[in-house]
Structures are given as C-alpha cells and as structure tokens.
C-alpha cells in the first residue's frame, strides 16, 4: 500500500484536539434551576438504564475519531497494489487508407476500431498499462505503458487515417519488441484485413461492409481521324466486391462533358471511354479534367480522379536587351514549340537605358550591352558585356580578337558540380570556335561551364543581388555556337536553371514525395491540403513535401512583383488499400514469454475511505440527533 498525499495524515492531529475538547466538555456544568425537585423526581421515572447511554458520549468520541482517521486516509489517498493482477495491454491499430472505408453505421472503420479500443480501455482493471502501436506508412509506437486512461484515450483520439498502404508486418514486429522488452502481456490487433493470426494476438476485425468502386487510372489522348481532331478520355474502373453497372461522369474545368455507363465485372479493370470531337481546340485547353463514379459506395476517396494541366502557369517571361536579338528570338521560338512556354520581349539598349529598368521578368538578357545596374528581381544572362557592371561578380579587363580560325573553347571538366551537371545536361559538348572574346576577372564564386586556357568563357552562379546569373564572354555572332545543336539545349537548360518549373509532375499517389523547385523570385509557398489544412514551405532551393491525404492539394506560390502561381496537384488513393476485404497471407504471431511481467492491479481507496468516513459522520450525527431531539 502506498499513499499519494502522505501529508493528508496531518489531519490525525485533530484527534488529540478532539479528545481534549471531549475531556473539557465532559465536565459537569453547574447551573441553578428554579427547582431541583422535579429533576430528582425524574429519576423515579427513568426507564431501566440503557448501558449505551452511559457510553453515548464516549461512543460519539470514538466515532468522531474513526471518522477523522478515515478522512485523513482519504486525504492521503491510499493505493493498494496487487502484484501481476492486471495486464500490460498493447493495442495494434491499423490506420492505413482502407480504414477510411465507411461501416454500415456510418462511421469509418478507424472510428469503429478506436471505439472498440476505448471500450476495452474503460473496462480494463485499474493498474493496467496501455501501449498503442499504429500501423500505417510508418508503423510506430504512439505511447507505451500509459496508466492514465484519459491520457491514453486522448492519444488514441488523435490517431488519424494515414492514406498509405498498411504495414502490419512492421507493426507486429514493433509489438514483438515490446513483448521482448517485457512491456506487454496482452496484444490486440484492430484491422479491416483478413489476417492469419498465430499465437499471442487477439484480432478484432472492424470491417462490416465491402462495397467499393474505384477509378484506378485516368488518361486523355488527342488524335486525328481523317484530319478530324478528337479527344479521348479513358477512366479505368474496378468494382472490388461484385459485378456492377456503373456510371462515370467526366468533367472539364468542373463542367460536365459527358457520362458513360458500363457493366463492370468484379475485380476486373473496365475502361470507360468518352470520345469527343475536338473542333476549334474546344477540349485542348483546360485547368483540370476529372472522372467521377456516380454510384454510391463505402469509400468516396477513390471514386474520383483528377488530372491538372500545368501549362497555364509555367510560362517564362524574358526581356531581351540587344541590338541584334536574332539568335535569341530564334532559339526562344524554337523552344516555345517544344514544351517550354516562353513569352519574350525585345528592346534595344538605348531604349532600356532610358527606361526605369526591368520589372517583373523572369529572365533579362543583356546582349553586347553592360547596364549601369543589374535588375534585382530577375535572373540575368550577360552576353559579351564590354564593361564592368556593379554587383555582377566580375570585372571587365580587355577585349581580345584572335586570328582565323579562332580559339576552340571546350567544356570544363566539372562533373562534380551540381550546377554544371544541370546546365550541361544532354549536351553533346562539342568545342566552340570563338574569334573575339572578353577577358573578365571573377570576384565571386562561379561555376565554369566553358573555358579556354583556364579562362572562363561561360560561367554561372549568383550575383550581388543573389540572383542567378549566366555570363557568356563572347558575342554569339563571333562564334559558331548558334550553329551547334548544343546551343538550343544549353539555352533550354539555362531557362530551366534561371526560371525552374516549380513542379514537374501533377498526379501522385498518396504518400508520394513532391519535390518543389522554387525560382529566386518565390517569396512564399502555401499548400492547402484536401482536408483544408494549410502548410507552408520554405522557398529556398529544393523542397520536398509528402502528400498525406487523398484529393486535390492547392499550392499558391507568391512571387516578387505581386505575381502569384497557383498549382493544383492530385493525390490518389493507394491502390492496394481500395480492396474492401483484403486478405493478408502472412501469419502474424507474437511470442510472449511465460514470465512476461504483468501490471499490478491498483486499487485507489480514496472513494472507499471517504464513504466510510461519511457513514461514520452520519452515524455520529444520528447518535447526536437521537440524544438531542
């Protein structure tokens, strides 16, 4: 037996005080009455002496002392421990995506499982400890050997669906390690899967429904038949529990464009196709395409599939400051029809120098012109700038002209450098013949891409405004570079480097990692999850984000100059979790050693002692009342 608050025994000091009061109070009181005759006469009428009367006062004192004793025990909160009389309960809770499926009572399988655990915890004897192992993408022990039922229930209530595939095996391993460490004596598994259970685990199957339809894939294709353009939407649909007659509706930018009905055989993929004539490119441009199964089932999350289009927001805006922009315009036009959307504008150096400078461009190209100041909010490409520019990271020294056939500059052997790898990706790397070039002294750290005799000819890095900067120290007109295949590839790489696409891919599976590449002008990135939760990402360098939910994630990237990019990506339900009654072929068991320690049964006698004290108080009061009234 132990006591939570031993100071409660200080109340026992009241007993000697009570005894002193009793002794003082028990003395005869002297009083004058009108006549003592009647009192004397009363003795004759006194019934046979009740022996209790003679000790009534003492009895009151004894009861009061007992009452104080029990009250002090209550205050001290006595706790009795009975060895090995309770269990160390370990609950393994499957929180994989399929547990989101609704049961017939309208609650999800996870909610049913949590309720069952909560009921078991409430019924568990005092002193039991509770451990919660969650089986999801990252099986883990949420809490271990907690005695407080309320705390455990609050932890349990915080468990949410993890839209991932189940990893029961890992969870059982975790439970086994708990058993091996002597921290668990009774194991219960709560899942919706049909699992083969060996010894040591009690299973609670929380699945009571099995009706589910899912769109496993959704594609869109443009093609021509006899010069007539068509667009074909194809949604792959599976019915997991029965043959069914299903209807799929297709949406373009949230407007219905058609419905298709089909018979679907159980567990067979059936493609629902919608073919539309794409006259006037009516179906070419869109922000989103969606396929939805209109039939009711017990899992909504896998009944729709969305494709988002990225082209709207992936345009690179370029300002060319040049007197002879031919090569730039040619290469940008070429790239523009090759999956890179570019909008460029050309001005002469004279006009540029008279303007207030560039504002809002992703890239500014200075060709044969050294501006007085570099733009602070754009990446810059400097071609053949015959003067030093503040904050550019280099100084102009001298112009050199060499005799025919010129020098042959070659690509640097800089393969360990990530920037070099990025800019020279897919290049053939043929030498470039140059007749006239400028000599620069670099005072910042740049990555050399092309060089001759250790003199950098093309180099890239960050300028004084921390903007991306690529420098060519020669005039394209005085080289054969524009005639080489590498020219267009290098320009493409330079655009990707200077103004990277934030995302390359827009359709994911739940729990995929999304890699964001932010441009320098990115100020903030807000991600709104399908459940409405807002997350914020740092906009420096590469950022990775894990998709924990199923549905559409809306991403808003704030850029400098009040520009905003809004991107939607779709996270689909894990394929293996769509099967309502999935059978796990593994056999799970936990070896529990015979001498695995059990928890002590804890009996808190606070209430009992308090009740006894109150009963004694009542008895005392009754005795007093009997005497007084």
């Amino acid at each position: 037996m132990s006591f939570s608050f031993p100071l409660g025994f200080l109340l026992l000091l009241a007993i000697p005080v009570l005894i002193i009061i009793y002794i003082i109070k028990n003395k005869y009181k002297e009083k004058v009455v009108s006549s003592s005759y009647i009192w004397e006469l009363s003795k004759k009428f006194l019934k046979k002496k009740n022996p209790l009367n003679s000790i009534a006062n003492l009895l009151n004192l004894i009861i009061q002392c007992l009452c104080i004793t029990f009250l002090s025990f209550s205050l001290a909160e006595p706790i009795f421990n009975f060895k090995n009389a309770s269990e160390n309960e370990v609950y393994i809770l499957d929180a994989s995506a399929s547990m989101e499926m609704l049961n017939s009572d309208g609650s999800t399988r996870l909610e049913s499982a949590k309720k069952e655990i909560s009921d078991l915890v409430d019924k568990a004897s005092n002193g039991s400890t509770f451990t919660l192992v969650v089986s999801d993408s990252n099986s883990r022990t949420l809490c271990q050997n907690i005695q407080d039922k309320d705390v455990f229930n609050s932890i349990l209530n915080r468990v949410d669906i993890d839209y991932s595939e189940s990893s029961l095996e890992n969870a059982i391993s975790l439970a086994q390690s708990i058993s091996s460490n002597g921290k668990g004596s009774h194991f219960s598994l709560f899942t919706d899967k049909e699992v083969k259970i060996g010894e040591g685990i009690e299973t609670y199957n929380v699945a009571d429904t099995n009706n589910n339809y899912a769109i496993s894939d959704f594609r869109v294709n443009n093609f021509k038949e006899e010069d007539v353009p068509y667009v074909l939407y194809e949604a792959d649909v599976v019915s997991y529990s029965e043959d069914a007659s299903l209807e799929v509706e297709f949406f373009l930018d949230d407007k219905s464009i058609g419905k298709v009905s089909n018979e679907v055989k159980q567990n067979e993929v059936t493609t629902f196709s919608l073919k539309l004539e794409n006259a006037n490119d009516a179906y070419t441009n869109y922000s989103s395409l969606k396929a939805v199964i209109n039939n009711e089932d017990y899992l909504k999350e896998d009944s729709e599939y969305i494709i988002y289009n990225s082209e709207d927001f992936d345009t690179t805006e370029i300002l060319i400051v040049s007197n002879s922009p031919f090569y730039f315009e040619s290469v940008f036009n070429a790239l523009n029809s090759n999956n890179i959307k570019i909008e460029y504008q050309t001005v002469t150096p004279a006009i540029y120098s008279m303007s207030a400078g560039s504002v809002g461009y992703d890239i500014v190209v200075f060709d044969g012109y050294a501006p007085e100041a570099l733009p602070v909010d754009s990446a810059v490409w400097l071609f053949n700038c015959g003067d030093s520019i503040p904050n550019s990271g280099f100084y102009f020294q001298k112009e050199y002209t060499v005799a025919d056939p010129g020098i042959k500059a070659s690509y640097a052997n800089n393969n360990d450098d990530l920037l070099y790898q990025e800019l020279t990706k897919n290049l053939v790397k043929r030498d470039i013949t140059i007749k006239t070039y400028l000599r620069y002294t670099l005072n910042s750290k740049f990555t050399t891409i092309l060089s001759y005799d250790n003199l950098p000819f093309i180099f890239a890095g960050r300028n004084g405004f921390n903007q991306k900067e690529i420098v060519f120290n020669f005039d394209l007109h005085n080289s054969n570079f524009p005639l080489l295949a590498d020219f267009i590839i290098l320009m493409r790489n330079c655009i990707r480097y200077s103004n990277p696409s934030i995302l390359d891919k827009f359709n994911y599976k739940s729990h995929d990692d999304v890699v964001f590449t932010f441009p320098d002008t990115a100020l903030s990135c807000e991600i709104t999850t399908p459940s409405g939760t807002k997350d914020y990402l740092s906009t420096s360098d590469l950022q990775s984000y894990t998709l924990d939910e199923v549905g559409t994630y809306s991403i808003t990237v704030e850029l400098a100059n009040n520009k905003t990019r809004k991107i939607n990506i779709f996270s689909s339900f894990p394929v293996n979790e769509r099967v309502p009654v999935s059978v796990d072929e593994n056999t799970y068991s936990i070896i529990i050693s015979a001498d695995a320690p059990k928890a002590d049964f804890v009996f808190n006698a606070l209430l009992s002692t308090l009740i006894v004290a109150l009963i004694l108080l009542l008895a005392d009061w009754m005795l007093y009342s009997h005497e007084q009234f």
Binding site: N26, S34, Y37
Partner: protein, 291 residues
C-alpha cells in the same frame, strides 16, 4: 404592570365574572349567581353606560352635569371575599413566572372588584403569608393598591400549607386562588383540604415557563435548587432522562388534578408563554374559571 393590564383589557374583563361554585355558602346567605351590583340601597360605584345596560339605572343628574351616561351601581348584599395567594418563593423569579403571576393576580383581583367583591392579595413566603392589600372593595381602591405589586420580591422557600393554614382564610364566603409553580415536595395538599373545610371555593393555578416544560439542557449537569442550595440534582441529562422529566411533570399535574378533583377544588396549569388576554378569554373561560 399598568402597561400590560391596560384599561382596555380591564374594561373587557368587566364583562366577565369569577365563577363561584353553587354550593359555596355565602356569608350573607345568598347565592353568587345573583351577586352583581345589586339592588340594595348602598351606593357602590359609577360606571359608564354600555349598550344593553338597564336604562332605568342611568343617573340623569350626572348626565345633566357631564352630558355622559353613567350607571349608578349599588352594593349587592351577597358580597364575596376573594383571597389570592401568590407563591413568592425564589423559584417563581425564574423566567417570567413571577411577573406573570402578579399580572394574573391583578387581573383576577380586578374581576372581583368589578363584581364589588372584597379582594385580598397575599404573598406566601416561607411559613407565613404577607398581605399586599386586604379587603379592598371597588376599582378606586384597587387602583390605589395595585402599585404594590411592583414591590414584590421573590425569594426563599415556601411552605404553602403551613403558611395558609396559619392565616385567617375565612369561612364559606368566597374564592381562594393559589398561584404557584407547585415545583416543591413541601406539602400543599393539606392547604386544599383546609380551605375546603372552610368552605372556600379553591382554585390552584400552576404556572410554568416553557423551559420548565421542555428543558433544553443536555449533558452532564449539576442543577442546584434556587430555594435551597443544599438541594441539587447531579446527572447526565439524556433523552431518556428528559422523557422521565416529562413523566415526572405529568405526575405532579395529575396529582394536583386528582387531588383537587376529589376535593371539589379547581386546578389549572398554564404556560407563561401565552398572553394574559389569551389566558383569560380562552383558557380560563373554557375551563369555567370565569364566565
């Protein structure tokens, strides 16, 4: 005293009279039923005319002088002699018994003088009686003497029988009223016998305070007798003892009732918490002490 027995109360009392038993032989041979301001020639008093009075008895001479109607009253020949004995022992000073007994005596005396009876009030102390006033007749005399009640001191013991039997109690000529708490083991039954032997109409009024009827004392007590400090009760006042106390009180009351009944005397017990007005116009009236 005058504040409580106010004039209104006294004028209301005038409507009643003390009941005298029929078999009491009056000194002048008549019955008390006809004993009113009578028809004799001896002038006794005036009183204001009230509705219902015989208008033939109105003194028109007085009306001529004061323009107020007064009846001229004459002394009846069958005049009674009321003797009121007040227990003036120390026990009567407890609570409000003493003051209450004095007021009660005053009111009873007024009833008698209103009937033109003679009235004496005696204090009974130890073995003797002390007259406060004797043989007064008429309200004028009554008001002259009533202030003496304020001077009464309650002290010492009392031996009612001894004191009264030593005095001149008269013979068959009226009512003897004894006001006491009767909380004594001294003899008082002999007094009743003696008075009845003298053909007196006897009324014993026992006055007790609420605390004496239902004591509130609890626990271990030594209760000293107020009249004799050598007498005391020592004990634990428990619920059982209180029950016994009530039985003892009932025993005393039953004893008085039975004894008075057997001697054709009257006995009445009253709680001093009730008002005099209630005592007279309810209790005494219902009991037939007044009518």
């Amino acid at each position: 005293m005058n504040q409580i027995i106010d004039e209104r109360f006294l004028s209301q009392l005038e409507l009643f009279s003390l009941a005298i038993k029929d078999n009491v032989a009056g000194l002048f041979g008549g019955t008390h039923q006809s004993k009113k301001y009578g028809t004799s020639c001896e002038f006794a008093d005036y009183r204001e005319y009230v509705e219902g009075d015989d208008i033939s008895k109105i003194d028109w001479n007085i009306y001529g002088r004061f323009e107020q109607l007064y009846l001229k009253l004459y002394l009846d020949e069958k005049q009674m002699y009321t003797k009121i004995y007040i227990d003036a022992s120390r026990s009567m000073s407890f609570f409000n018994k003493g003051e209450y007994s004095l007021r009660l005596a005053a009111a009873l005396a007024y009833l008698s003088v209103s009937e033109m009876d003679r009235v004496s009030i005696y204090l009974v102390k130890e073995h003797s009686i002390i007259p406060l006033f004797e043989k007064i007749i008429g309200r004028e005399k009554f008001f002259e003497n009533i202030a003496k009640l304020n001077e009464v001191e309650f002290s010492g013991d009392v031996y009612l029988s001894d004191a009264i039997m030593r005095s001149d109690v008269g013979f068959g000529n009226g009512k003897s009223i004894i006001i006491s708490d009767f909380l004594t083991n001294n003899d008082y039954f002999s007094m009743i016998d003696y008075l009845r032997d003298k053909h007196r109409d006897v009324l014993c009024i026992q006055l007790l305070a609420p605390e004496e009827i239902n004591p509130t004392s609890r626990g271990k007590n030594i209760l000293y007798d107020s009249e004799n400090s050598n007498k005391f009760f020592k004990g634990n006042i428990t619920r059982d003892l209180l029950d016994a106390y009530k039985k003892a009180l009932t025993h005393i009351q039953d004893g008085l009732t039975n004894y008075c009944g057997s001697r054709e005397a009257d006995y009445a017990f009253y709680d001093t918490s009730i008002s005099l007005r209630e005592l007279f116009f309810d209790k005494l009236l219902n009991k037939g002490v007044i009518r």
